[in-house]
Each structure stands twice: as C-alpha cells, then as structure tokens.
Symmetry: C2
C-alpha cells in the first residue's frame, strides 16, 4: 500500500507495478485490472463488466449523445487531472445541449510502463467527478500500446443525456437582440496546464477551472436560455465565432466586462497569449432573451460571483464577432489558424 | 488528386499533406478537417458538427451502450483497416447484447505527421462499414498528439442500439443442456494482422474476417437464442471461459467441429499460436435451447457455410471449459495470463 497525491492505493500490486501489454490482451491480467481498479471505482447497478454492452432503460423522447478524447499533458495539473477532465468535459458537452447527463462510457489507451499508481489515481478522480456531476460510468474498454507509441494515458468518454420535453438549446434558436452571459472568469484551464509543464519556466501556480456545469445549466433551462456553449479549445473567442457562423448572426462583446484573474492576465501577457483564445473547462456562455437576463444571471452568479453580461447579438448581416476594447476601439475577432497550446484537453 | 488503395482523394490538400498539431487545436484547421474529411463521409440528418452533442429521438424501452478503442497495427491489413474494425467491432458488441445498432460516435487521436491521405482512406472505410451495418456516425472528436506520442491513428467508437421488447440476451439466461453454435471458421483476424506485420517474416496472405454480424444476429433473435458473444481479444477459448464464469456453468466443446482454414492452421502451427485463443472480428458463439438449434443453425449457415454446433453446456458445477481433442482426449481450457498478439484490435 502506498500513499501519493493524497490517495492510499489498496491494490495488490507491488509499489513499482506498471501497466504491461498483457493488461490489454483480454486475458487474466485484463480481468485483474477490471476487478481491482475499474469495477470498485465505477461500481453502480448499471455497470456492465461481464457482457458486451451496458443496458439502460429510457423513456420516449430526445437523447443527447456526445464523445471526446482527452490527451492532456501533464496528466495531473493544479485543479484537476485527465480523469476529472474526461468526466467533466463530456458532462458539460451534454449540458450545453440542454440535456441532463446520465451515462458515460470510458475507453482507456494506456502506454506500456505507466505506473499502476497513476492509473489508479486517475480512475479515483473519475469516480469523484462522476459522483459530483451525478452521472454513472457504465461501460468501458482498455487497450495498451507499446512504450513510445502513446503518452501515459489517453481517455475517451462518450456520454448520453436526456432532454426534457420542450427544451431546444441550439444556435438556430438565437435571435437578434439576445444578450450574452458569461459564467465566470476565463483562461484559467489553459494557463494552468501551461504553467504545470516542466518546460514552461513559469512558477506562478494557476488552478484550472475544470468542473461540471451540469447543475447550473439545468437550473438555467427554466430561465428561457436559447443557446449554450462551453469555452473549451479555442476559448471564448472561438466559441462565439463558431456560434456566429452557425446561427448566422453578428455578436458584439465588451472587453471590460470579461473577467480574467490577475495572475492569469499576468501569465498571458508574459507568455504572449490572448485570454480570449485560451481554453476553459468549467465556463460557458448563455444566449438569452433580454427579458430573461436578470433571472438567468442570478442563477449563474450563485455558481460564480464573476458571472456577468458581456455583450449581445446584433444585426444578422456579416456574421462578425466584434470586441469593444477597454481603450474604446473595436476589433473583429477571427478564428486562429494555428495552435496556441497543444494538448490542453 | 491522388489515387491509392482504390480511393481517389478529392481533398484540397497537396499530395504530401500531413496532420499537424494545429488540426487538433479547435481553430480553422480543425474546422477544415471536419468540413473536408469528416462531414462529407459521415453525412446524415442526425450528424451534428456545429453543436456539442448529437440529438436523437428514441422510443421508451431498453438501449444498449458500449465503447471500444482501436489501436491496431498495421492500420491497413488484408480484409480491413482500423476504420472498418472500429465500426464493425462496436456494431458487433451492440449486436451481442441483442440490440439493433443505430448510432456511433467516432473519436480520433491522430499523431502529428500522419499522411492526410491515410486518414481520408480510413474515414472512407468507416463510411462504407457504417452503411453496410446500417448505423449512423453522428458525433465525433479529433485530437492530435505530438510525433512519437501516438501511432498514426487511434479510434474510439461508442455505440447505441435499441433492444426490442422481450429480448434478453445475457450469460444469466444460459441453461444446462443449451447447445453452442459457432458462426464460422476462427482465428483469421489475428493471423491476418500478424502476417501483415513487416517483421513477421510470414508471406502467406490471410484475410481478416472483420465484418458486421448485426444482420445475422437480428434474425437469430427470433430463433430463441439465449446468449451471444463475439470472439475478439482472446478468441473462442477466452469467450467461453468468460461466459462459463459469468453464467456459472461448465462447457464442453469438440475440437473436430471447430473450423480453421488450412492456411490459418498452418500459420498458427509455424508461429506457435493456438487458434482457439486467436482474435476474430466477425465471429461469435450463440447459446440456444436444443429445440431451437436447427432453426438457428440454418440462419447462421446463410451467413457462413462454416457455421456449426461445436458443443454444449453441461452441469453447472465447476465452471470448466473442456475441449474434446481430435485424438479423443480431454483438456481444460484456461485463460491466458500473457499477451499472445499485442494490438490486434
């Protein structure tokens, strides 16, 4: 039994146990991995470890279905790890469609030589995140690739959520005049990953905003929200540019209304990043009819005091996203062609 | 425009175009990948490329949900590629639960430097396999990892299928006396992968059995089948050992009834593999009440003339799987602890 990262690992593995190719071979070592690590962590009545699929009962209606693979480096960072990210990221994608997240799958691609303790710790984190978000992990898969053909742990989570009757959250619902609400301060996740990298040369500890927003979003659905979008890869700017294109509308936002923590702002300035394009993992924007803004904002402020109105949908023509800067000028936001920060999720 | 593997690639990429980290960054190159490769291939009314989840309508009842990651090497092999494998493998897992496969997700983890032409060709193969199996790919994700941190292409597919009322396919349904039917000759997929490897030193071309069995299985459901299991990692022996354990029954099979192609048998002998433990990707066993054997077998023989009855469920005690050899002796089959063939799926 060893202690690391605050976990005590009750595995019958010796202290320096590592994942081998045979753990992915479908034989007795694969079964040991399931019985000793996955089944105890993900235990629930719908979990299926002895058959090819999990079986769930649903009522007639609409379901949301989504998938994401997670390849973040480092695997563990301030405010989270690849496990919490893999649960919260997919939970949030379901929530952004107006769905109540219910079930997740978990597919692991492990690199030969991975410390068993690291896998265990990541799986414990998935367990905790799933409990917090109110979802069940009910089906899974493990593959192992040769050393040097992977990078520790990659995780795919796919998710199923149920959409209540009458809920229609989509870019096509957006109307001219809608107001845009932001759920909190931005750019923390991307800068937390960057500052956690050994080669970043950056000492300032920034904590990721990685969290489930499903509870907050379910309350918002009653407040007449028309569209939601989480601000992951590409950050706030990319999310708004995508929505502007999909919905065929223009958008105007005010830089002075967009909260960025001082240490995050400082890190962005030093390292040359624009916080508007830096990834978040627990932040979203909501598009609402102005008559619903007060109610929606009061719900959002309960989750984060930094939530605020940052702009509005203007005339449909142009499909532009315009930023009113602090200095009083305006500039158009464009999609980045390159990669700001590889492997932040 | 280039021609390779019988495909003509209509991409606006130059002939030597490769995947870069920026293709996974969520910016304009990610969008280009979606618009030029994924959307045209997976086009269907339920495909969602502009929102966080796909939305599907379902009737009240039972759904099957499953996931698998695919890390096969080489990416392209006789009889299939990682794309057809990723579709058929997950389709077959749904079918093994008695479900009609309906929807798939597709999560790609690409290695920086991958030839764009290879990605395109694999995606075309997924398109064809999905059409053949009658499933729609409706949601997806792409990540790119640095060169040397992946291995060309890894694919996760998760799947949703619907289970008709009254269908209950599970190890717990198996009864003493049930007969065991095998859907065709075994061990081709594993040996096809092995012989396709550059370092195998093996020239004999063996074609994988990779295929959807969903159509065949849906017909079988009307013939009163009690349990189904596909014979993937670990092959026929591992599948039967797992079922014996889950169902709490013993199983007896006859070696002389198990079809293995001559070239596959030869390759196994030369290379030291037991065909009973070699992976298949289009083969399964069905457990049936003896009164239903004739009907079930006639359905299975339509899909493969090699389908046949290979054994039966004996007394519950012991949970043993026994092989009656051609020589007339008996031996107990045990789960392998090691890895016969890494990365065959």
């Amino acid at each position: 039994m060893t202690e690391e990262n605050g976990f005590s690992c009750p595995l019958p593995f010796h202290e320096n146990a590592v994942v081998t190719l045979a753990h992915g071979g479908g034989g007795s070592l694969t079964h040991q991995l399931i019985e000793k690590i996955f089944r105890p962590a993900f235990d629930n009545p719908d979990l299926e470890t002895e058959h090819d699929s999990a079986i769930i009962e649903v009522g007639a209606g609409k379901l949301a279905f989504t998938t994401d693979s997670y390849v973040v480096q480092p695997l563990i960072f301030p405010g989270g790890d690849i496990g919490s990210l893999a649960v919260n990221g997919t939970v949030n994608d379901l929530a952004m469609s107006g769905a109540r997240p219910l079930y997740l799958s978990a597919g692991f691609i492990l690199e030969e030589g991975l410390a068993m303790e690291t896998l265990w710790s990541v799986v414990q984190s998935m367990k905790q995140s799933a409990l917090s978000a109110g979802v069940k992990i009910i089906t899974g898969d493990t593959k192992v690739v040769d050393k040097g053909k992977g990078d520790g742990i990659f995780i795919n989570t796919s998710g199923i959520g149920v959409i209540e009757q009458g809920v229609a959250i989509h870019p096509s619902q957006i109307q001219s005049g809608d107001e845009i609400l932001l759920s909190g301060d931005i750019a923390r996740h991307g800068m937390a990953i960057l500052s956690a990298r050994k080669d970043s040369g950056f000492q300032n500890q920034i904590e990721s905003d990685c969290a489930s927003v499903a509870g907050e979003v379910l309350s918002l659905l009653d407040a007449g929200v028309r569209c939601l979008r989480d601000l992951t890869r590409g950050g706030l700017a990319t999310a708004l540019i995508e929505i502007s294109g999909s919905a065929g509308v223009s958008i105007e936002i005010n830089e002075s209304e967009i909260p960025v923590q001082e240490n995050v702002k400082g890190a962005c300035e030093i390292l040359g990043f624009d916080p508007l394009y830096v990834a978040n993992e627990g932040r979203f924007v909501a598009f609402v009819n102005p008559k619903d803004t007060a109610q929606a904002l009061s719900i959002m402020k309960k989750a984060s005091a930094d939530a605020r109105k940052i702009g509005r949908v203007t005339e449909p023509a142009g499909k532009r996203v315009t930023l009113k800067t602090r200095a009083g000028s305006s500039r158009m936001l464009n999609m980045l062609s390159g990669e700001q920060l590889p492997r932040i999720c």
